[in-house]
């Protein structure tokens, strides 16, 4: 059964805690061409804001692995992305991510899926919400 409106509200278990490290922050900042920003270096760096996508993507895996939805990453287009931060992610944070399907608009073989991934520390402090709109095409139509 392909993804449909019936799946709105479905959530997946939180991802295993991921520890944000200074080395990973430095690596991600360098990949953005932003290695010179002192906020991303030193003893207590913050992560570049869009580093949140690394955690959010880990939560996507559960949805793409859900056999009831029949989704494939290779037939998915990332339409838009929004982050809302309660505070920046910092080195030493243990972060988990929980994905919820917020909206599905299925038309023919194409579904527009809105998801929200809530990032929080392992102790429950809210850090960030990463909301995405995805356009998915069913295999039959490909």
């Amino acid at each position: 059964m392909p993804i449909s409106e019936d799946h709105v509200g479905r959530s997946y278990p939180a991802t295993a805690p991921y520890e944000v490290s200074r080395a990973k922050i430095a690596e991600f900042a360098a990949a953005l061409g932003d290695a010179d920003n002192p906020a991303y270096a030193g003893e207590a760096p913050v992560a570049p804001p869009t580093f949140a996508v690394v955690l959010a993507a880990a939560a996507w895996d559960a949805m793409f692995a859900d056999p009831e939805l029949g989704l494939s990453l290779s037939r998915t287009v990332h339409v838009d992305q929004k982050f809302t931060w309660q505070r920046p992610l910092r080195a030493g944070d243990e972060v988990t991510a929980t994905l919820t399907i917020e909206k599905v608009r299925a038309r023919g073989a194409t579904a527009i899926i809105t998801i929200a991934v809530a990032l929080s520390t392992a102790s429950g402090e809210a850090l960030c919400t990463a909301a995405s709109t995805l356009m998915h095409t069913n295999e039959e139509a490909a």
């Binding site: 061409g33 290779s74 929004k82």
Partner: protein, 136 residues
């Protein structure tokens, strides 16, 4: 942190970044997004793309430097949203030059809204790119 001044219409410093294949590979490693359309000619061609394309999130992440270079502290960024309007095509030879800029469009309750522009060959590659920045 000390208060940051912003006024509507303020133009933030712009910059360009040349994205080369090596930058895409580096971002793939740093982000964990190994979708082959970002590094394999064959995968890109199979989807009808003229060449491999940059990760949308690489463009989105780089574009936010318009805001963080200006405000100094990335912790000031409250929200950031974009639409992935058009892919950035990255040829093996020479890469792609992406130009980034921004304008303050609203200042209210100690929060500045910045509209960010990202263009490649004069074409917008991000749509409705907007960040909210805490000024206090």
């Amino acid at each position: 942190m000390s208060a940051l001044a912003a006024e509507v219409g303020q133009v933030l410093p712009s910059f360009s970044r040349t994205l080369e294949r090596a930058d895409l590979v580096r971002y793939a490693g740093a982000s964990g997004d190994f979708n082959p359309i970002h590094w394999s000619d064959g995968a890109a061609a199979a989807l009808g793309l003229p060449d491999v394309i940059a990760h949308g999130m690489l463009t989105m992440g780089t574009a936010l430097r318009v805001v963080t270079d200006w405000c100094g502290d990335p912790a000031r960024v409250r929200s950031y949203s974009v639409r992935f309007t058009k892919p950035v095509v990255v040829p093996a030879d020479g890469g792609a030059v992406v130009r980034f800029g921004g304008t303050v469009t609203k200042v209210e309750d100690g929060v500045a809204t910045v509209s960010i522009e990202a263009t490649c060959d004069g074409v917008l590659v991000l749509g409705a790119a907007t960040a909210e920045v805490f000024l206090g």
